[in-house]
Symmetry: C2
DNA sequence: TCTTCGCCATCACAATTTCCGAAGGCGTGA
DNA sequence: TCACGCCTTCGGAAATTGTGATGGCGAAGA
Protein backbone atom coordinates (compact mmCIF):
# COMPACT_ATOMS: atom_id res chain seq x y z
CA UNK A 1 0.00 0.00 0.00
CA UNK A 2 1.25 3.46 -0.86
CA UNK A 3 0.10 6.94 -0.10
CA UNK A 4 -1.53 7.40 -3.48
CA UNK A 5 -3.98 4.67 -2.53
CA UNK A 6 -4.99 6.67 0.50
CA UNK A 7 -5.17 9.91 -1.43
CA UNK A 8 -7.45 8.26 -3.93
CA UNK A 9 -9.56 6.69 -1.23
CA UNK A 10 -10.18 10.03 0.44
CA UNK A 11 -10.83 11.77 -2.84
CA UNK A 12 -13.38 9.18 -3.94
CA UNK A 13 -15.04 9.20 -0.54
CA UNK A 14 -15.41 12.95 -0.76
CA UNK A 15 -16.39 13.22 -4.41
CA UNK A 16 -18.55 10.10 -4.35
CA UNK A 17 -17.63 9.49 -8.00
CA UNK A 18 -14.60 7.91 -9.59
CA UNK A 19 -14.91 10.33 -12.47
CA UNK A 20 -14.82 13.44 -10.32
CA UNK A 21 -12.11 12.06 -8.10
CA UNK A 22 -10.07 11.39 -11.22
CA UNK A 23 -10.49 14.99 -12.33
CA UNK A 24 -9.50 16.24 -8.93
CA UNK A 25 -6.38 14.10 -8.91
CA UNK A 26 -5.52 14.94 -12.52
CA UNK A 27 -5.61 11.40 -13.71
CA UNK A 28 -7.93 9.06 -15.50
CA UNK A 29 -10.94 7.31 -14.12
CA UNK A 30 -9.68 3.75 -14.74
CA UNK A 31 -6.57 4.59 -12.74
CA UNK A 32 -8.71 5.65 -9.81
CA UNK A 33 -10.76 2.50 -10.16
CA UNK A 34 -7.62 0.40 -10.01
CA UNK A 35 -6.40 2.24 -6.93
CA UNK A 36 -9.58 1.53 -5.04
CA UNK A 37 -9.64 -2.04 -6.19
CA UNK A 38 -6.04 -2.61 -5.13
CA UNK A 39 -6.63 -0.94 -1.80
CA UNK A 40 -9.69 -3.03 -1.11
CA UNK A 41 -7.75 -6.14 -1.99
CA UNK A 42 -4.81 -5.44 0.25
CA UNK A 43 -7.10 -4.48 3.10
CA UNK A 44 -9.43 -7.38 2.56
CA UNK A 45 -12.50 -5.21 3.02
CA UNK A 46 -14.97 -3.49 0.75
CA UNK A 47 -14.72 0.25 1.09
CA UNK A 48 -17.38 1.33 -1.37
CA UNK A 49 -20.73 0.19 -2.65
CA UNK A 50 -20.82 0.61 -6.39
CA UNK A 51 -24.13 2.11 -7.37
CA UNK A 52 -25.26 3.38 -10.72
CA UNK A 53 -25.11 6.85 -9.19
CA UNK A 54 -21.54 6.57 -8.02
CA UNK A 55 -19.54 5.24 -5.13
CA UNK A 56 -21.01 5.13 -1.66
CA UNK A 57 -18.92 4.35 1.39
CA UNK A 58 -19.77 1.11 3.12
CA UNK A 59 -19.97 1.06 6.90
CA UNK A 60 -16.43 -0.31 6.88
CA UNK A 61 -15.30 2.44 4.53
CA UNK A 62 -16.92 5.00 6.74
CA UNK A 63 -14.90 3.68 9.62
CA UNK A 64 -11.68 3.56 7.63
CA UNK A 65 -11.93 7.05 6.20
CA UNK A 66 -10.83 9.03 9.25
CA UNK A 67 -7.86 6.75 9.70
CA UNK A 68 -6.86 7.26 6.10
CA UNK A 69 -7.05 10.99 6.67
CA UNK A 70 -4.95 10.57 9.76
CA UNK A 71 -2.27 8.69 7.88
CA UNK A 72 -2.23 11.30 5.14
CA UNK A 73 -2.04 14.05 7.72
CA UNK A 74 0.92 12.37 9.36
CA UNK A 75 2.68 12.15 6.02
CA UNK A 76 1.86 15.77 5.37
CA UNK A 77 3.20 16.79 8.75
CA UNK A 78 6.40 15.03 7.85
CA UNK A 79 6.77 17.04 4.67
CA UNK A 80 5.73 20.31 6.24
CA UNK A 81 8.17 19.85 9.03
CA UNK A 82 10.92 19.45 6.47
CA UNK A 83 9.78 22.62 4.71
CA UNK A 84 10.08 24.46 7.98
CA UNK A 85 13.54 23.08 8.47
CA UNK A 86 14.93 23.55 5.03
CA UNK A 87 16.12 27.13 5.50
CA UNK A 88 16.87 26.69 9.14
CA UNK A 89 20.27 25.46 10.14
CA UNK A 90 20.23 23.09 13.02
CA UNK A 91 22.99 21.06 14.50
CA UNK A 92 26.33 22.34 15.62
CA UNK A 93 29.33 24.05 14.13
CA UNK A 94 32.82 24.24 15.61
CA UNK A 95 34.96 27.25 14.84
CA UNK A 96 38.66 27.30 15.58
CA UNK A 97 40.11 30.51 16.97
CA UNK A 98 43.69 31.63 16.64
CA UNK A 99 43.64 34.90 18.51
CA UNK A 100 41.72 36.76 21.13
CA UNK A 101 37.99 37.17 21.05
CA UNK A 102 37.96 40.90 20.59
CA UNK A 103 40.33 40.89 17.67
CA UNK A 104 38.34 38.16 15.95
CA UNK A 105 35.14 40.14 16.56
CA UNK A 106 33.54 37.07 18.09
CA UNK A 107 30.86 38.98 19.91
CA UNK A 108 29.47 40.34 16.66
CA UNK A 109 29.75 36.95 14.96
CA UNK A 110 28.02 35.21 17.81
CA UNK A 111 25.24 37.77 17.83
CA UNK A 112 24.71 37.50 14.10
CA UNK A 113 24.63 33.70 14.18
CA UNK A 114 22.31 33.55 17.13
CA UNK A 115 20.04 36.00 15.40
CA UNK A 116 19.85 34.30 12.03
CA UNK A 117 20.22 30.67 13.08
CA UNK A 118 18.86 30.35 16.59
CA UNK A 119 18.97 26.57 16.49
CA UNK A 120 22.57 26.33 15.43
CA UNK A 121 24.90 25.44 18.26
CA UNK A 122 28.12 27.33 17.85
CA UNK A 123 31.30 26.17 19.54
CA UNK A 124 34.29 28.49 19.43
CA UNK A 125 37.42 26.60 20.31
CA UNK A 126 40.70 28.23 21.20
CA UNK A 127 43.70 27.14 19.24
CA UNK A 128 46.20 28.56 16.84
CA UNK A 129 46.68 28.64 13.11
CA UNK A 130 48.96 25.66 13.44
CA UNK A 131 46.50 23.52 15.39
CA UNK A 132 43.42 24.70 13.52
CA UNK A 133 44.51 23.50 10.11
CA UNK A 134 44.95 19.83 11.00
CA UNK A 135 41.83 19.98 13.10
CA UNK A 136 40.00 21.15 10.00
CA UNK A 137 41.46 18.33 7.94
CA UNK A 138 40.39 15.60 10.32
CA UNK A 139 36.98 17.14 10.84
CA UNK A 140 37.43 18.27 14.42
CA UNK A 141 36.63 21.78 13.29
CA UNK A 142 34.20 22.99 10.66
CA UNK A 143 35.93 26.30 10.05
CA UNK A 144 38.72 28.28 11.63
CA UNK A 145 40.47 31.59 11.77
CA UNK A 146 44.02 31.23 10.50
CA UNK A 147 46.83 33.67 9.93
CA UNK A 148 49.30 33.75 7.07
CA UNK A 149 49.16 32.32 3.60
CA UNK A 150 47.60 28.89 3.47
CA UNK A 151 49.16 26.57 0.94
CA UNK A 152 46.77 23.68 1.00
CA UNK A 153 44.63 22.86 -2.05
CA UNK A 154 42.08 21.04 0.09
CA UNK A 155 41.41 24.22 2.02
CA UNK A 156 39.30 27.18 1.05
CA UNK A 157 40.20 30.46 2.68
CA UNK A 158 38.55 33.81 2.80
CA UNK A 159 40.64 36.88 3.42
CA UNK A 160 39.34 38.97 6.28
CA UNK A 161 41.98 41.58 7.20
CA UNK A 162 45.66 42.38 7.30
CA UNK A 163 47.23 41.65 10.63
CA UNK A 164 50.09 44.12 11.17
CA UNK A 165 52.87 42.75 13.32
CA UNK A 166 55.41 44.52 15.46
CA UNK A 167 58.34 43.53 17.56
CA UNK A 168 57.60 44.06 21.20
CA UNK A 169 60.39 44.66 23.61
CA UNK A 170 60.37 44.73 27.36
CA UNK A 171 61.11 48.12 28.87
CA UNK A 172 63.91 46.52 30.87
CA UNK A 173 65.88 45.80 27.68
CA UNK A 174 65.52 49.30 26.28
CA UNK A 175 69.08 50.16 27.12
CA UNK A 176 70.46 47.11 25.40
CA UNK A 177 68.64 47.94 22.20
CA UNK A 178 71.03 50.27 20.62
CA UNK A 179 69.96 49.56 17.05
CA UNK A 180 66.88 48.25 15.32
CA UNK A 181 69.02 46.46 12.77
CA UNK A 182 68.00 42.87 12.56
CA UNK A 183 71.45 41.55 13.19
CA UNK A 184 71.62 43.50 16.42
CA UNK A 185 68.21 42.40 17.52
CA UNK A 186 69.06 38.80 16.83
CA UNK A 187 71.64 38.88 19.52
CA UNK A 188 69.08 39.73 22.11
CA UNK A 189 66.92 37.15 23.93
CA UNK A 190 63.68 36.24 22.19
CA UNK A 191 60.42 34.73 23.14
CA UNK A 192 59.58 32.43 20.32
CA UNK A 193 56.18 31.67 19.00
CA UNK A 194 55.70 28.00 18.40
CA UNK A 195 56.51 26.75 14.88
CA UNK A 196 52.84 26.19 14.08
CA UNK A 197 52.04 29.85 14.53
CA UNK A 198 52.12 32.18 11.58
CA UNK A 199 54.17 34.66 13.57
CA UNK A 200 56.91 32.09 13.63
CA UNK A 201 57.15 32.20 9.88
CA UNK A 202 57.39 35.94 9.90
CA UNK A 203 60.18 35.69 12.40
CA UNK A 204 62.02 33.08 10.40
CA UNK A 205 61.74 35.07 7.19
CA UNK A 206 62.97 38.11 8.98
CA UNK A 207 66.12 36.48 10.29
CA UNK A 208 66.80 34.33 7.25
CA UNK A 209 66.87 37.46 5.13
CA UNK A 210 69.74 38.63 7.25
CA UNK A 211 71.41 35.28 7.60
CA UNK A 212 71.33 35.28 11.31
CA UNK A 213 69.56 33.36 13.97
CA UNK A 214 68.10 34.73 17.15
CA UNK A 215 68.91 33.43 20.55
CA UNK A 216 66.08 31.18 21.53
CA UNK A 217 64.85 31.58 24.97
CA UNK A 218 61.32 30.38 25.32
CA UNK A 219 58.45 29.22 23.21
CA UNK A 220 54.94 30.44 23.86
CA UNK A 221 52.16 29.33 21.62
CA UNK A 222 49.49 31.41 23.16
CA UNK A 223 49.56 35.05 22.24
CA UNK A 224 48.68 36.41 25.66
CA UNK A 225 51.29 34.17 27.22
CA UNK A 226 53.84 35.58 24.81
CA UNK A 227 52.86 39.11 25.62
CA UNK A 228 53.19 38.39 29.30
CA UNK A 229 56.67 36.95 28.75
CA UNK A 230 57.74 40.05 26.93
CA UNK A 231 56.32 42.31 29.58
CA UNK A 232 58.06 40.24 32.23
CA UNK A 233 61.34 41.05 30.53
CA UNK A 234 62.17 37.59 29.24
CA UNK A 235 62.93 38.80 25.74
CA UNK A 236 61.60 40.28 22.52
CA UNK A 237 58.62 38.87 20.71
CA UNK A 238 56.48 39.32 17.64
CA UNK A 239 52.89 40.30 18.34
CA UNK A 240 50.06 42.02 16.61
CA UNK A 241 50.25 45.79 16.54
CA UNK A 242 47.94 47.32 19.09
CA UNK A 243 48.08 44.53 21.57
CA UNK A 244 50.37 46.59 23.71
CA UNK A 245 48.89 49.76 25.08
CA UNK A 246 51.01 52.78 24.03
CA UNK A 247 51.52 53.63 27.64
CA UNK A 248 52.35 50.13 28.79
CA UNK A 249 55.06 50.58 31.39
CA UNK A 250 56.59 47.16 30.89
CA UNK A 251 56.89 46.82 27.13
CA UNK A 252 56.87 48.86 23.97
CA UNK A 253 56.79 48.39 20.18
CA UNK A 254 60.03 48.67 18.24
CA UNK A 255 59.88 50.77 15.06
CA UNK A 256 60.83 47.91 12.79
CA UNK A 257 58.92 47.23 9.58
CA UNK A 258 57.52 43.72 9.56
CA UNK A 259 55.43 42.16 6.83
CA UNK A 260 51.76 42.00 7.69
CA UNK A 261 50.12 38.59 7.70
CA UNK A 262 46.61 38.09 6.40
CA UNK A 263 43.90 36.96 8.78
CA UNK A 264 41.79 34.40 7.00
CA UNK A 265 38.82 32.21 7.55
CA UNK A 266 39.41 28.66 6.43
CA UNK A 267 37.34 25.55 5.81
CA UNK A 268 37.63 22.36 3.80
CA UNK A 269 37.08 23.10 0.13
CA UNK A 270 34.92 20.03 -0.31
CA UNK A 271 32.47 21.48 2.18
CA UNK A 272 32.15 24.80 0.40
CA UNK A 273 28.56 24.04 -0.56
CA UNK A 274 27.58 22.81 2.86
CA UNK A 275 24.79 25.09 4.05
CA UNK A 276 26.37 25.43 7.47
CA UNK A 277 29.66 26.54 5.97
CA UNK A 278 27.91 28.86 3.56
CA UNK A 279 25.93 30.45 6.34
CA UNK A 280 29.00 30.76 8.50
CA UNK A 281 30.98 32.36 5.69
CA UNK A 282 28.25 34.83 5.04
CA UNK A 283 28.05 35.90 8.66
CA UNK A 284 31.82 36.11 9.07
CA UNK A 285 32.18 38.15 5.91
CA UNK A 286 29.41 40.46 7.02
CA UNK A 287 31.11 41.01 10.33
CA UNK A 288 34.41 41.79 8.62
CA UNK A 289 32.89 43.78 5.79
CA UNK A 290 34.31 41.66 3.00
CA UNK A 291 32.60 39.94 0.09
CA UNK A 292 31.63 36.34 0.58
CA UNK A 293 33.06 33.94 -1.98
CA UNK A 294 30.69 33.04 -4.77
CA UNK A 295 28.81 29.78 -4.73
CA UNK A 296 30.82 26.96 -6.19
CA UNK A 297 28.45 24.57 -7.88
CA UNK A 298 29.92 21.23 -8.63
CA UNK A 299 28.96 21.05 -12.27
CA UNK A 300 29.93 24.60 -13.09
CA UNK A 301 32.10 24.96 -16.16
CA UNK B 1 6.43 11.23 -1.82
CA UNK B 2 5.24 7.72 -1.14
CA UNK B 3 5.37 5.40 1.81
CA UNK B 4 8.29 3.45 0.43
CA UNK B 5 10.39 6.58 0.74
CA UNK B 6 9.59 6.69 4.43
CA UNK B 7 10.15 2.99 4.88
CA UNK B 8 13.55 3.33 3.28
CA UNK B 9 14.38 6.40 5.31
CA UNK B 10 13.68 4.63 8.57
CA UNK B 11 15.50 1.49 7.49
CA UNK B 12 18.61 3.43 6.50
CA UNK B 13 18.50 5.48 9.67
CA UNK B 14 18.37 2.30 11.70
CA UNK B 15 20.86 0.25 9.73
CA UNK B 16 23.19 3.16 9.09
CA UNK B 17 24.15 1.57 5.78
CA UNK B 18 22.49 1.62 2.40
CA UNK B 19 23.74 -1.89 1.81
CA UNK B 20 22.21 -3.33 4.96
CA UNK B 21 19.00 -1.39 4.54
CA UNK B 22 18.77 -2.83 1.04
CA UNK B 23 19.10 -6.34 2.40
CA UNK B 24 16.49 -5.69 5.02
CA UNK B 25 14.08 -4.37 2.44
CA UNK B 26 14.88 -7.13 -0.04
CA UNK B 27 16.02 -4.79 -2.75
CA UNK B 28 19.24 -3.45 -4.19
CA UNK B 29 21.52 -0.79 -2.85
CA UNK B 30 21.12 1.59 -5.80
CA UNK B 31 17.37 1.49 -5.31
CA UNK B 32 17.76 2.51 -1.69
CA UNK B 33 20.17 5.21 -2.70
CA UNK B 34 17.65 6.58 -5.18
CA UNK B 35 14.89 6.54 -2.56
CA UNK B 36 16.92 8.61 -0.15
CA UNK B 37 18.04 10.95 -2.86
CA UNK B 38 14.47 11.48 -4.09
CA UNK B 39 13.20 11.99 -0.57
CA UNK B 40 15.88 14.54 0.21
CA UNK B 41 15.04 16.35 -2.99
CA UNK B 42 11.33 16.56 -2.39
CA UNK B 43 11.86 17.63 1.19
CA UNK B 44 14.60 20.08 0.32
CA UNK B 45 16.73 18.98 3.22
CA UNK B 46 19.71 16.70 3.70
CA UNK B 47 18.79 13.74 5.84
CA UNK B 48 22.09 11.89 5.93
CA UNK B 49 25.78 12.63 5.96
CA UNK B 50 27.53 10.25 3.62
CA UNK B 51 30.64 8.96 5.29
CA UNK B 52 33.00 6.20 4.21
CA UNK B 53 31.61 4.20 7.10
CA UNK B 54 28.03 4.55 6.05
CA UNK B 55 25.13 6.93 6.39
CA UNK B 56 24.84 9.11 9.45
CA UNK B 57 21.72 11.11 10.20
CA UNK B 58 22.14 14.85 10.07
CA UNK B 59 20.59 16.98 12.77
CA UNK B 60 17.69 17.57 10.40
CA UNK B 61 17.39 13.87 9.71
CA UNK B 62 17.40 13.17 13.40
CA UNK B 63 14.51 15.53 13.79
CA UNK B 64 12.61 14.08 10.84
CA UNK B 65 12.98 10.45 11.83
CA UNK B 66 10.33 10.30 14.54
CA UNK B 67 7.87 12.01 12.25
CA UNK B 68 8.57 9.49 9.54
CA UNK B 69 7.92 6.74 12.05
CA UNK B 70 4.71 8.46 13.03
CA UNK B 71 3.51 8.61 9.45
CA UNK B 72 4.35 4.96 8.92
CA UNK B 73 2.61 4.04 12.14
CA UNK B 74 -0.51 5.90 11.03
CA UNK B 75 -0.49 4.02 7.74
CA UNK B 76 -0.01 0.79 9.61
CA UNK B 77 -2.86 1.57 11.94
CA UNK B 78 -5.00 2.07 8.89
CA UNK B 79 -4.16 -1.37 7.56
CA UNK B 80 -4.45 -3.07 10.92
CA UNK B 81 -7.82 -1.56 11.51
CA UNK B 82 -8.97 -3.01 8.23
CA UNK B 83 -7.63 -6.41 9.23
CA UNK B 84 -9.65 -6.21 12.38
CA UNK B 85 -12.72 -5.32 10.40
CA UNK B 86 -12.42 -7.78 7.59
CA UNK B 87 -14.21 -10.65 9.33
CA UNK B 88 -16.46 -8.42 11.33
CA UNK B 89 -19.72 -7.33 9.83
CA UNK B 90 -20.62 -3.80 10.58
CA UNK B 91 -23.40 -1.67 9.29
CA UNK B 92 -27.03 -2.58 9.30
CA UNK B 93 -29.30 -5.20 7.85
CA UNK B 94 -33.07 -4.99 7.41
CA UNK B 95 -35.08 -8.18 7.56
CA UNK B 96 -38.68 -8.30 6.45
CA UNK B 97 -41.08 -10.38 8.53
CA UNK B 98 -44.28 -11.98 7.34
CA UNK B 99 -45.53 -13.63 10.47
CA UNK B 100 -45.28 -13.47 14.21
CA UNK B 101 -42.01 -13.39 16.05
CA UNK B 102 -42.38 -16.73 17.75
CA UNK B 103 -43.17 -18.64 14.59
CA UNK B 104 -40.22 -17.05 12.79
CA UNK B 105 -37.95 -17.90 15.73
CA UNK B 106 -36.77 -14.34 15.85
CA UNK B 107 -35.49 -14.56 19.39
CA UNK B 108 -33.05 -17.29 18.44
CA UNK B 109 -32.02 -15.47 15.27
CA UNK B 110 -31.49 -12.22 17.12
CA UNK B 111 -29.41 -13.97 19.77
CA UNK B 112 -27.24 -15.70 17.21
CA UNK B 113 -26.65 -12.53 15.23
CA UNK B 114 -25.87 -10.47 18.30
CA UNK B 115 -23.46 -13.11 19.43
CA UNK B 116 -21.53 -13.56 16.18
CA UNK B 117 -21.80 -10.04 14.78
CA UNK B 118 -22.09 -7.66 17.70
CA UNK B 119 -21.55 -4.61 15.53
CA UNK B 120 -24.24 -5.49 13.03
CA UNK B 121 -27.39 -3.49 13.50
CA UNK B 122 -30.37 -5.70 12.81
CA UNK B 123 -33.76 -4.22 11.94
CA UNK B 124 -36.71 -6.60 11.80
CA UNK B 125 -39.57 -4.96 10.00
CA UNK B 126 -43.12 -6.24 10.06
CA UNK B 127 -44.76 -6.84 6.72
CA UNK B 128 -46.11 -9.66 4.68
CA UNK B 129 -44.90 -11.83 1.86
CA UNK B 130 -46.60 -9.48 -0.55
CA UNK B 131 -44.98 -6.34 0.75
CA UNK B 132 -41.61 -7.92 1.45
CA UNK B 133 -40.87 -8.95 -2.11
CA UNK B 134 -41.13 -5.51 -3.68
CA UNK B 135 -39.29 -4.05 -0.73
CA UNK B 136 -36.47 -6.47 -1.45
CA UNK B 137 -36.42 -5.48 -5.11
CA UNK B 138 -36.10 -1.79 -4.44
CA UNK B 139 -33.55 -2.31 -1.73
CA UNK B 140 -35.70 -1.34 1.23
CA UNK B 141 -35.03 -4.73 2.71
CA UNK B 142 -31.90 -6.86 2.61
CA UNK B 143 -33.69 -10.14 3.21
CA UNK B 144 -37.13 -11.29 4.15
CA UNK B 145 -39.25 -14.18 5.27
CA UNK B 146 -41.77 -15.06 2.61
CA UNK B 147 -44.36 -17.75 2.28
CA UNK B 148 -45.29 -19.72 -0.79
CA UNK B 149 -43.45 -20.42 -4.00
CA UNK B 150 -41.48 -17.47 -5.27
CA UNK B 151 -41.37 -17.17 -9.02
CA UNK B 152 -38.85 -14.44 -9.51
CA UNK B 153 -35.48 -15.16 -11.14
CA UNK B 154 -33.89 -12.13 -9.50
CA UNK B 155 -34.63 -13.59 -6.09
CA UNK B 156 -32.80 -16.29 -4.19
CA UNK B 157 -34.82 -18.24 -1.66
CA UNK B 158 -33.94 -20.70 0.98
CA UNK B 159 -36.53 -23.19 2.18
CA UNK B 160 -36.97 -23.16 5.93
CA UNK B 161 -40.10 -25.16 6.80
CA UNK B 162 -43.49 -26.24 5.68
CA UNK B 163 -46.25 -24.02 6.92
CA UNK B 164 -49.38 -26.14 7.42
CA UNK B 165 -52.62 -24.20 6.96
CA UNK B 166 -56.05 -24.80 8.34
CA UNK B 167 -59.43 -23.26 8.00
CA UNK B 168 -60.42 -21.60 11.22
CA UNK B 169 -64.06 -21.15 12.01
CA UNK B 170 -65.73 -19.16 14.75
CA UNK B 171 -67.54 -21.22 17.34
CA UNK B 172 -70.66 -19.16 16.65
CA UNK B 173 -70.87 -20.56 13.10
CA UNK B 174 -70.51 -24.19 14.19
CA UNK B 175 -74.16 -24.93 13.67
CA UNK B 176 -74.17 -23.52 10.15
CA UNK B 177 -71.24 -25.69 9.16
CA UNK B 178 -73.05 -28.85 8.19
CA UNK B 179 -70.43 -30.03 5.77
CA UNK B 180 -66.74 -29.49 5.20
CA UNK B 181 -67.24 -29.71 1.45
CA UNK B 182 -65.67 -26.71 -0.21
CA UNK B 183 -68.84 -25.76 -2.02
CA UNK B 184 -70.72 -25.62 1.26
CA UNK B 185 -68.03 -23.65 2.98
CA UNK B 186 -67.91 -21.17 0.13
CA UNK B 187 -71.40 -20.11 0.97
CA UNK B 188 -70.38 -19.02 4.41
CA UNK B 189 -68.86 -15.63 5.26
CA UNK B 190 -65.07 -15.40 4.95
CA UNK B 191 -62.40 -13.18 6.26
CA UNK B 192 -60.08 -12.70 3.38
CA UNK B 193 -56.39 -12.36 3.52
CA UNK B 194 -55.13 -9.60 1.32
CA UNK B 195 -54.12 -10.57 -2.21
CA UNK B 196 -50.45 -10.08 -1.48
CA UNK B 197 -50.46 -12.75 1.19
CA UNK B 198 -49.59 -16.32 0.34
CA UNK B 199 -52.67 -17.55 2.19
CA UNK B 200 -54.72 -15.75 -0.39
CA UNK B 201 -53.29 -17.92 -3.08
CA UNK B 202 -54.11 -21.03 -1.15
CA UNK B 203 -57.65 -19.84 -0.78
CA UNK B 204 -57.98 -19.01 -4.42
CA UNK B 205 -56.60 -22.37 -5.49
CA UNK B 206 -58.98 -24.07 -3.09
CA UNK B 207 -62.10 -22.45 -4.47
CA UNK B 208 -61.03 -22.44 -8.10
CA UNK B 209 -60.62 -26.19 -7.93
CA UNK B 210 -64.29 -26.38 -7.04
CA UNK B 211 -65.43 -23.63 -9.38
CA UNK B 212 -67.01 -21.59 -6.68
CA UNK B 213 -66.31 -18.32 -5.07
CA UNK B 214 -66.58 -17.52 -1.38
CA UNK B 215 -68.58 -14.68 0.00
CA UNK B 216 -66.21 -11.91 0.70
CA UNK B 217 -66.65 -10.19 3.95
CA UNK B 218 -63.50 -8.56 5.08
CA UNK B 219 -59.87 -8.34 4.22
CA UNK B 220 -57.22 -8.50 6.89
CA UNK B 221 -53.60 -8.47 5.91
CA UNK B 222 -52.24 -9.00 9.35
CA UNK B 223 -52.44 -12.53 10.62
CA UNK B 224 -53.34 -11.65 14.18
CA UNK B 225 -56.02 -9.28 12.90
CA UNK B 226 -57.43 -12.11 10.82
CA UNK B 227 -57.45 -14.45 13.78
CA UNK B 228 -59.25 -11.90 15.86
CA UNK B 229 -61.89 -11.47 13.14
CA UNK B 230 -62.47 -15.17 13.04
CA UNK B 231 -62.73 -15.42 16.81
CA UNK B 232 -65.12 -12.48 16.80
CA UNK B 233 -67.40 -14.52 14.57
CA UNK B 234 -67.01 -12.46 11.41
CA UNK B 235 -66.36 -15.50 9.25
CA UNK B 236 -64.01 -18.30 8.32
CA UNK B 237 -60.34 -17.73 7.57
CA UNK B 238 -57.15 -19.48 6.59
CA UNK B 239 -54.46 -19.45 9.20
CA UNK B 240 -51.42 -21.46 10.17
CA UNK B 241 -52.12 -24.61 12.09
CA UNK B 242 -51.41 -24.18 15.76
CA UNK B 243 -52.24 -20.51 15.95
CA UNK B 244 -55.53 -21.37 17.59
CA UNK B 245 -55.25 -23.05 20.94
CA UNK B 246 -57.13 -26.41 20.92
CA UNK B 247 -59.32 -25.20 23.75
CA UNK B 248 -60.03 -21.81 22.28
CA UNK B 249 -63.66 -21.09 23.18
CA UNK B 250 -64.28 -18.75 20.26
CA UNK B 251 -62.80 -20.54 17.25
CA UNK B 252 -61.71 -23.97 16.13
CA UNK B 253 -59.90 -25.62 13.20
CA UNK B 254 -61.95 -27.35 10.53
CA UNK B 255 -60.79 -30.82 9.50
CA UNK B 256 -60.17 -29.80 5.88
CA UNK B 257 -56.96 -30.76 4.09
CA UNK B 258 -55.22 -27.69 2.77
CA UNK B 259 -51.95 -27.63 0.88
CA UNK B 260 -49.05 -26.52 3.05
CA UNK B 261 -47.07 -23.50 1.91
CA UNK B 262 -43.30 -23.32 2.29
CA UNK B 263 -41.78 -20.73 4.55
CA UNK B 264 -38.73 -19.33 2.84
CA UNK B 265 -36.02 -16.80 3.36
CA UNK B 266 -35.51 -14.57 0.36
CA UNK B 267 -32.91 -12.06 -0.84
CA UNK B 268 -31.79 -10.59 -4.14
CA UNK B 269 -29.79 -13.13 -6.10
CA UNK B 270 -27.20 -10.57 -7.08
CA UNK B 271 -26.36 -10.05 -3.46
CA UNK B 272 -25.82 -13.72 -2.74
CA UNK B 273 -22.09 -13.15 -2.22
CA UNK B 274 -22.56 -10.10 -0.05
CA UNK B 275 -20.96 -10.97 3.28
CA UNK B 276 -23.93 -9.59 5.18
CA UNK B 277 -26.34 -11.79 3.24
CA UNK B 278 -24.07 -14.78 3.58
CA UNK B 279 -23.80 -14.29 7.32
CA UNK B 280 -27.52 -13.79 7.64
CA UNK B 281 -28.27 -16.90 5.65
CA UNK B 282 -25.93 -18.95 7.74
CA UNK B 283 -27.53 -17.83 10.98
CA UNK B 284 -31.08 -18.27 9.70
CA UNK B 285 -30.33 -21.72 8.41
CA UNK B 286 -28.71 -22.66 11.68
CA UNK B 287 -31.79 -21.53 13.59
CA UNK B 288 -34.05 -23.55 11.29
CA UNK B 289 -31.78 -26.54 11.07
CA UNK B 290 -31.44 -26.52 7.30
CA UNK B 291 -28.37 -26.45 5.09
CA UNK B 292 -27.19 -23.08 3.92
CA UNK B 293 -26.96 -22.70 0.14
CA UNK B 294 -23.46 -23.21 -1.27
CA UNK B 295 -21.33 -20.23 -2.13
CA UNK B 296 -22.03 -18.96 -5.60
CA UNK B 297 -18.79 -17.61 -6.99
CA UNK B 298 -19.21 -15.51 -10.07
CA UNK B 299 -16.57 -17.26 -12.17
CA UNK B 300 -17.62 -20.74 -11.18
CA UNK B 301 -18.02 -23.16 -14.05
C1' DT C 1 53.66 4.39 2.13
C1' DC C 2 50.98 1.45 -0.32
C1' DT C 3 47.29 -1.81 -0.77
C1' DT C 4 42.97 -3.59 0.24
C1' DC C 5 38.51 -3.12 1.77
C1' DG C 6 33.91 -1.29 2.54
C1' DC C 7 30.69 2.08 1.28
C1' DC C 8 28.00 5.05 -1.63
C1' DA C 9 26.92 7.41 -6.30
C1' DT C 10 26.16 6.88 -10.98
C1' DC C 11 25.03 4.75 -15.40
C1' DA C 12 22.71 2.04 -19.01
C1' DC C 13 19.41 -1.16 -19.41
C1' DA C 14 15.71 -4.38 -17.89
C1' DA C 15 11.50 -5.33 -15.32
C1' DT C 16 7.65 -3.80 -13.30
C1' DT C 17 4.17 -0.88 -12.38
C1' DT C 18 1.12 2.52 -13.58
C1' DC C 19 -1.64 4.91 -16.81
C1' DC C 20 -4.58 5.72 -20.73
C1' DG C 21 -8.26 5.27 -24.30
C1' DA C 22 -11.76 2.28 -25.85
C1' DA C 23 -15.33 -0.83 -25.14
C1' DG C 24 -18.81 -3.09 -22.33
C1' DG C 25 -22.27 -3.91 -18.63
C1' DC C 26 -25.69 -2.09 -15.79
C1' DG C 27 -29.24 0.60 -13.84
C1' DT C 28 -31.88 4.96 -14.25
C1' DG C 29 -34.88 8.32 -16.16
C1' DA C 30 -37.05 10.38 -20.14
C1' DT D 1 -37.09 1.88 -25.91
C1' DC D 2 -33.43 4.87 -26.00
C1' DA D 3 -29.96 7.81 -24.20
C1' DC D 4 -27.25 8.83 -20.39
C1' DG D 5 -24.06 8.40 -16.46
C1' DC D 6 -21.27 5.45 -13.92
C1' DC D 7 -18.04 1.79 -13.04
C1' DT D 8 -15.21 -2.30 -14.72
C1' DT D 9 -12.25 -4.51 -17.78
C1' DC D 10 -8.89 -4.87 -21.43
C1' DG D 11 -4.69 -4.31 -24.38
C1' DG D 12 -0.95 -1.56 -25.25
C1' DA D 13 1.83 2.65 -24.20
C1' DA D 14 4.39 5.33 -20.95
C1' DA D 15 6.58 6.24 -16.86
C1' DT D 16 8.59 4.69 -12.88
C1' DT D 17 11.32 1.70 -10.38
C1' DG D 18 14.82 -1.81 -9.92
C1' DT D 19 19.26 -4.18 -11.27
C1' DG D 20 24.21 -5.23 -11.99
C1' DA D 21 28.40 -3.20 -13.10
C1' DT D 22 31.55 0.39 -12.40
C1' DG D 23 34.07 4.06 -10.16
C1' DG D 24 35.43 7.35 -6.51
C1' DC D 25 36.56 8.00 -1.97
C1' DG D 26 38.27 7.36 2.79
C1' DA D 27 39.77 4.29 6.26
C1' DA D 28 42.05 0.37 8.14
C1' DG D 29 45.84 -2.74 7.82
C1' DA D 30 50.34 -4.53 6.00
Amino acid sequence: MELYHLRTFVAVAEEKHLTRAAERLFTSQPAISAHIKALEETLGVTLFDRTPKGMRLTAVGEEMLPRARQALAAANTFVQHAKGLQDELIGSVRIGLNSDARFLRLAALQAALADDYPRLEVAMLTGSTGTNLPALRVGKLDAAFVSGEIDDPSMSVCFLAEEPLVIAAPTGLREQIVSTEVEALAALPWVYTSPDCSHFRVMRVLFEAHCCEPTRILIANQEDALVEMVRAGVGLGIIRRGVLAPDDPQAYELPVALPAVPLQFAYLRKRENDPVIRALMQEVCAVWGVDAPREQVRDAG
